[in-house]
Amino acid sequence: MKKVIITVIGRDTVGIIAKVCTYLADHNVNILDISQTIVGGYFNMMMVTDPTDSSVGAGQMSDDLTALGEGMGLSIRVMGEDIFNAMHRV
């Protein structure tokens, strides 16, 4: 199982988590963990997801969520977990 990490950064507004979660539910992507914080008025969220049974691939998910983010003035990135492990774990 390759986990996919979704990060959302932008101005805090109502419904950010709801919209991202709705997308993930619609495409059968399981959410394993969510953490969020607000730094200087900016919303930071990280979701660890499992797309094993998903109807969309990581590439499509990336395109869709980027577009969703742009509509809300947010930067949403979908990245394979490996890149974070490679960078931050010896």
Partner: protein
Amino acid sequence: MINILEAAETVRMITRENLDVRTITMGISLLDCISSDLNELCENIYRKITSKAKDLVRVGDEIAKEYGIPIVNKRISVTPIGLIGASACAKPDDYVLIAKTLDDAAKEVGVNFLGGFSAVVSKGMTMAEENLIRAIPEALARTSYVCASVNVGSTRTGIDMDAIRLLGNTILETARRTEDRDSLGCAKLVVFCNAPDDNPFMAGAFHGVTEGDTVINVGVSGPGVVKTALESVRGESFEVLCETIKRTAFKVTRVGQLVAQEASRRLGVPFGIIDLSLAPTPAIGDSVADILHEIGVEYAGAPGTTAALALLNDQVKKGGVMASSYVGGLSGAFIPVSEDQGMIEAVEAGALHIEKLEAMTCVCSVGLDMIAIPGDTKPSTISGIIADEMAIGMVNAKTTAVRLIPVIGKGVGESVEFGGLLGHAPVMPVNEFGCENFISRKGRIPAPIHSFKN
């Protein structure tokens, strides 16, 4: 489990600090393409490249998307064509035909550049290799993707001064043939001492004869990431400075290692090396000169610059080697002029001259890189500059290179625009005192005393 701050740091490096993988370069051996029939040779070359590299661009793009890391270039390096064409090419024009074949193959598979129109003549030239060098101006004028390089010296062999004399003219002729494009052809021609066999960066990449059939080499980047990290330790001691560079280089290199392993696995091609280079681009915030400024010099070129660069280069290596078991290529900080906005500003401010750049090349990779000089520079002067830089490489047992662009029709005070990653550059003055009597001597400079290690 990764925490949110670590995730945010990675995202920030990519989105705001220009972290990227600069290139996935597939090295392809053409030794099994050799034929004494030129047409057959060209067919073999085209077929081998287009079959081995057919999925390179697609796989590179897929990895970039899945991991959210830009992979800027997908490239190919091939066995030095001076060897491959030796039995089929009787004259320079025959080599031009091979260059066009390489160009067609590169276009077919969609890569940015293809390197290896090269000759390794560190001790002497065969007639075939001399023909290849004579073919370079025409080859670079008539192709779009092909890059050429000539290795004219090494610590073990000394320096081939006959090749350097020939290259002074070759570089000027290449400039003339591409005069309508600000002599852009010279941006695709590098002269080396101690050229590595596994360099993934252009224009000097070729697939050395020590390599296997095909290999994946990856070049990382990240000057912007290092610069930003150093902003947080202003005024701190050298120990803190070095530690910060090392940590950052480690993270950057690990991304390259991940991409290299993935590319190797998906393409079914062995992984070769990671090249730990800080490779700048003309983009704001992606500059090695800006790092030097952050370390503490007003402009690149100010007193202290060479020491700062030596420190930077060393720490990048120390951080990077821990991140990958196979490090190779050029591995160090690049200091091209036109490709680095901070370098351009240093030249325009009068802080940076060719002589200082030469000193800086003693402590970093690679050499006098992407420097525009007046178009009326004498060939012997170009040869003299090359010889000086090669001597630095030979004596210090390191790679050095020269990529000069004599801009035909332009002089000091004017500037040239190459576009894209190649950037723009002010035309820099060269020392105009003569060296004809030195360059006109025949033969080679012997290997230095410390090459006798047996």
